[in-house]
Every structure is written in structure tokens, then in C-alpha cells.
Symmetry: C2
Subunit: 199 residues, 2 copies
């Protein structure tokens, strides 16, 4: 059965592999890319390849970067006494967007997950421990996700880092701002109660 010119079929197939992009959306995106000025389509294609070829992991923090060390590690204005540990590079972006944190980062590239065979050796934990050794760091903030694996990873790291004599903190869990008590799940609500502070 003939549906598409072969190069169009290939484009739809490739787009269909993107997360959240089903066959219908893939077709819509493909026809869009065939309709826009050629330069716009080429810009996207080039951006995909460039993002792959011009970025690598920062040798210090593990964040995605186009220079090594990355802009954050190289920025002397940032607080060198605090390191925030996150699961992946997207979390760095999320925290940077708050514009409130001015310390450094350490990207683990995952969480401990025995089920998936991910142990401490698969994460950038050894690099973190080495980085803290003899450093001016006074506090490590554990900002892994509030999931079973994220909590387990935070607990594991806390033990390791405390053994190095450095203060370890965990980001707070509770009701999201603008959230509604009535609609919060029980675990979140209990965490919010537990984490209550005196006013």
C-alpha cells in the first residue's frame, strides 16, 4: 500500500520515536517540516546533531556542557562551599530557573536501583566523594527526587558524606505552593506535617 513518498515515510518514522509523539503527531510534524522554509528545517536538523557533537559531561560536576569545566563549575562567583546533588542534568536546569541557588552541582546520572542493576558504581558517587576530599565544601544538599529510589540514594549518600565530616541536608518535601490540602496524596500530606516549622 502506498501512503507516503519514501523520504516522508522515513521522517514520520523517526519522529514517531520521540517520547509522546504518536503516529498522528509524527505525521503532523513531518508535513509541518515539509511546509516551512527549508532553512528552518535545516536549522532543526543541524541543532540535533550539534547538540550531540558539541556537548559532553563536565569533568567536575557531570553536568552537560559545551566547555570543560562547565560554566557553573568555572564561575568563581558561585558559592564554592555548597554542592547540590541531583539525579540528572534536567534537574540542574530546574534549580537554576529558581534563580535562588548560587552554589555548585553534582550530577549523579541516575539513582540507585537494584531492580535495574544500578549500584553505586554505575552512578557518579566515587567522583563526588573524591571531589569532597580536602575541598572547601561545607554542605551537600541532596536533591534527588522524592521517590523510593531517590530516597534510598539520598540515604546512601548521606552516610558516605557524613563519614567525610561534611554537613548533609535533604530538600524539603511538603505541599506544593498553590496546591490544595484536599487533593494532596497522603504521603505528601504526612511529609508536610512532619516537616512543619514554628512560626
Amino acid at each position: 500500500m502506498y501512503y507516503y513518498a519514501e523520504p516522508v515515510g522515513r521522517l514520520i518514522e523517526a519522529l514517531n520515536k520521540l517520547p509522546g509523539v504518536g503516529p498522528k503527531t509524527a505525521q503532523r510534524l513531518a508535513f509541518h517540516l515539509l511546509r516551512v522554509p527549508r532553512s528552518e528545517a535545516v536549522t532543526l536538523a543541524k541543532a540535533i546533531v550539534d547538540a550531540r557533537d558539541q556537548t559532553s559531561d563536565c569533568s567536575i560536576c557531570g553536568n552537560m556542557t559545551d566547555r570543560d569545566p562547565c560554566r557553573i563549575c568555572a564561575d568563581e562567583a558561585r558559592d564554592q562551599a555548597v554542592i547540590c546533588v541531583v539525579e540528572d542534568a534536567r534537574d540542574v536546569v530546574a534549580i537554576e530557573k529558581t534563580r535562588e541557588y548560587h552554589g555548585l552541582y553534582h550530577v549523579l546520572r541516575g539513582v540507585l536501583s537494584p531492580m535495574e542493576g544500578i549500584g553505586p558504581e554505575q552512578l557518579r558517587i566515587r567522583e563526588l566523594v573524591a571531589r569532597l576530599e580536602g575541598s572547601p565544601v561545607q554542605e551537600v544538599i541532596l536533591a534527588t527526587n522524592p521517590t523510593v529510589e531517590g530516597e534510598a540514594t539520598a540515604n546512601y549518600l548521606a552516610r558516605q558524606i557524613k563519614a567525610q565530616g561534611i554537613k548533609v541536608t535533604r530538600i524539603a518535601h511538603g505541599l506544593p505552593i498553590g496546591g490544595d490540602l484536599e487533593y494532596a496524596d497522603q504521603v505528601t500530606l504526612w511529609r508536610a506535617m512532619e516537616g512543619r516549622r514554628e512560626l
Copy 2:
């Protein structure tokens, strides 16, 4: 403010220009493309450029094609006596997917729209009239969309083609299969009543 390595920022920006892709989705897609095997990202990039560079308009029907004439126009097994007129190449795909139509196509590349300054000269109407001249075509099916512009275009074409002594038909409008009478809009419902057939 630093958020992304520059090549990543450029990729997010390019993805953000796709229809239905907001900043959050663009970021998710970008990080996906940074995580998958490099070959998969390159395949997508190449598919985008190839789809542009290896397709053109069929010189007979105007459909998007990677050879000229296109596979449908070149297929002698298709009914050469029927031409289905559609607005754009996506409509050809939609009709082909029914697997029920075996005639030829003619792609208008738009509809008459005085508001947007699109007159008969901007569409592939002259090509259609020329194509019908002295051809074995016995029926032209007008399959423009059931919109104000689509109807106006169909009416305009009907006059032109009837003047050439060829039978002109319009696709039926009515309740979609699986649709619910209660939820149909009034215009669709009236069209369904109007188009009733004796059983």
C-alpha cells in the same frame, strides 16, 4: 542567567518552533535526543533534510513525491477515469488509508480564500482544467474540506469542470460513523437529513 549549554539551548529553541511543542515539551524532546544512541539522533536529523531535498511536487497531480510522475499517477492499475480533488497532500494519505479508492488525485494546495488573498490563480486549478482537457476522465470527485472555504472552492470547481462536460460529485457529509446524533452539531445533522437515502 545560565540554564543550558548553548547547543542544547539552540536545539530546544528549534524544537519549540514545531506545532504543538511548547517550551516544556521542547526541553523533554531535547534531553531525549541527547540520551538516545547518537545514530538515532542523526537518523532523525538526516530524515528531516532528506524529506526536504528528496521530495518535490508531482508534475501531474501536485502530490508530494520522490519521483515524477508520482507512484499513483504512474500506476496503470489505478482507475484513470476518476480524479479526486483534495486540498493538500495529507488528504491523499487519509483517503489512501481507506484502501477503497482506486482512482487518481489532484492536489489543489489550498482553498479559495478571498480574506487571505488566495484566488483561483494561487491554486492548481489551471493545471486541473488542462489535465481534464481531452482526457479519459469521466468523474471528478470534489473532496475539499466541509468548511466555508472548502465548499466555496468545490462550487467554483464544479462550475468549471461541468463546463468541460465531465461529471462532478461531492463527497457526502453527515454523521460520522460511531457518532452520536445527540452530540452532532446542527449543521452536520441537517446535512445528514438532507443527504438521506432510500433503503
